[in-house]
Symmetry: C2
Subunit: 348 residues, 2 copies
DNA sequence: GGCCTTTCATGAAATGTTTCACAGCCAAAA
DNA sequence: TTTTGGCTGTGAAACATTTCATGAAAGGCC
């Protein structure tokens, strides 16, 4: 069968404690002995038994990435997960991927919790991604399980204290994007994005602030007209065009919405950016590859993932330490879908 | 601290063996005792220690999903991963997500293996997804670690025996799609897709067979003109149009390629499907939401994931049993981007 | 009542590792 | 020479659970 530390010790004619010290890179081992032990390890093809090690240390280098209430693992969350894995691989941790759907209305004690919480000792810290609500957080806390959360998609009745969370800036980015469009001379800038979700409302508020500050009228299509991003962008844009509302630019609250809007514009023989400027949000891969590339707000998802992992591991090391929230900045990526309003430029 | 099985036994005034039987739903426990034990468990908020359990059983209900040689977790692989997780959650297993990049040219013994293979006992079976080569498979086999693999993206010099793999049909689908376009009266059907990857070559061969069988000329743009799907579809389509080659339909080897082609067509004032019919491959979410919806070949990725998980678990149960390969069928989804060739229909 | 069978609780053994108190050895200091 | 102190190797204890041989109690049959 597979060899154990005992076999190695016997073959190297040392005590198991010595073998353990060699494996774990402890100092205070005679070089000659270390050599002998390493030779024995090679010869026996010994690999440490992770199960025994975890058991005796009462710790597992495992983070559980929980994707809550999302039927699809979107490019956005995929990239976050990849960031988490990347950091974990660098630091010797492992990532467990779990999907978990629940209703915000179930009392914490009635929640059918994901398997990772039913036993204890499977993962040492949770990363709560996806959309989460108070009841699940409460249940996790009652179990005394460590966790860190993605702050942007956290839906709570009262604002949470800014600890043990990682997020990105849902205000500064949209504000900057709107200002940018205004700078380009646009006045009829439409916001498209269902604001029933509070992170879209934040983006809308930033847009609204920028518009109001410049004395411009807010033009928001904040009610969803379809149940997916693309179709919603498409339908909202068609609706605006059909009504003949003035419009020279669109700020879409998500890249996929922008793509829908774009196709609707093309359908109406409007060209981007010649006729309409278009700004998205997220900078998914597709945004940079489009012809022309989509001007959008880049959220560094991999960075968000890395920070989540880093925070989770820090949490394991010092469980009682509340770690201040980390906000990953969002940057405006100017590509080919935005340009100055022709009339404004030529008449000025 | 957290309570152990011993605490429960003491409180319920039974032996630990009895508590163990209650926890693990063994029969042969007196109902009265079972009740008493369950009460004690509730009162102490006892949760079994997964680490101790795994240690003593020398088994972990964990599968490791390895995404090899992919810088992005594409919607395609995301959906497979979700299928894996879904099945695992149903059967009490957990999924570890690992990314692993390696060169096909490194000898097996020189590979810097992912952490999950450095110890033993972290995961009981691997699911090899992404693009994999012989050297890594060999290394895994030499370690004696169980695995199942996604067959479509397996690149080996000699064909692998059809065991312990799950895949989808890369031939029948493309063949059917091409036949469908031919049935619609199309004669100038272009294949777009870089065939340097062998799974694209399979799709091309099926297209070629269908065309040849009907006495039609194969029109393949099989050399990549850009380094991502969308841009490649865009560039290839522009190239075809710029040369003035006759074309009434495009079969794109992947949905994203189709989207690029579509945008290039629009750029040239060609409308889909009025002027050009378009068929994709994959049926990513975006395909169904487009206006009009993209006619494409649906690969049931969640199903692929579920079968991979099922096979992996079966592999753990009976390690020496070679499990015949599973091929998940691919189906043609007819949406709005395909229609009969006008001229052909009217003149016949 | 005596004997046999069935049912079910008991508690010790076993699992592979880390940890730690202790001991042995050697060099330097007294 | 003896004592002290610093290294470094040793091996038993501890970890929480499952498993299993053992045995007690209960029930059935003559």
């Amino acid at each position: 069968m597979t060899s154990t530390i005992k076999d190695v010790a016997k073959r190297a004619r040392v005590a198991i404690g010595t073998v353990s010290r060699v494996i774990n890179d402890h100092p205070d081992v005679d070089p000659a002995l270390r050599e002998r032990v390493e030779k024995a390890i090679r010869e026996l093809q010994y690999r440490p038994n992770a199960r025994a090690r975890r058991f005796v240390q009462n710790a597992s280098p495992v983070l559980s990435f929980i994707l809550s209430n999302r039927s699809v693992l979107s490019p956005f969350h995929s990239a976050i997960l990849q960031g988490v894995e990347e950091y974990c691989a660098e630091t010797g941790y492992f990532v467990m991927f779990t999907q978990y759907d629940y209703s915000p209305d179930t009392p914490p004690s009635d929640l059918r919790l994901p398997g990772v919480l039913q036993s204890h000792g499977i993962a040492d810290c949770l990363i709560l991604a996806g959309t989460n609500y108070e009841n699940f957080i409460t249940a996790v806390e009652e179990l005394g399980v460590h966790y860190v959360a993605l702050s942007n998609h956290l839906v709570t009745s009262t604002p949470r204290a800014p600890f043990d969370q990682v997020g990105w800036d849902d205000d500064a980015g949209p504000y900057e994007a709107t200002r940018y469009l205004i700078t380009l001379g646009h006045k009829h800038i439409w916001y498209i994005g269902d604001t029933s979700l509070h992170w879209y409302k934040l983006r809308y508020s930033a847009y609204e602030r920028a518009m109001t500050e410049c004395g411009l009228e807010t033009l928001g299509q904040t009610v969803g007209l379809a149940d997916n991003y693309y179709a919603n962008g498409y339908a909202c844009t068609e609706m605006i065009l059909d009504h003949g509302y003035p419009m020279t630019a669109i700020f879409a609250a998500y890249d996929e919405i922008a793509f829908g809007a774009w196709d609707a514009l093309r359908k109406h023989n409007l060209e981007v950016p010649r006729d309409i400027s278009l700004v998205g949000y997220g900078d998914d891969d597709a945004a940079q590859f489009k012809m022309p590339g989509l001007t959008t707000l880049r959220v560094e998802k991999a960075r968000v993932g890395r920070e989540l992992a880093r925070m989770a591991i820090e949490k394991i090391r010092r469980p009682d330490n509340r770690i201040p929230q980390i906000i990953v900045p969002v940057s405006l990526i100017k590509r080919g879908t935005t340009r100055p309003v022709s009339v404004t430029i030529s008449s000025s």
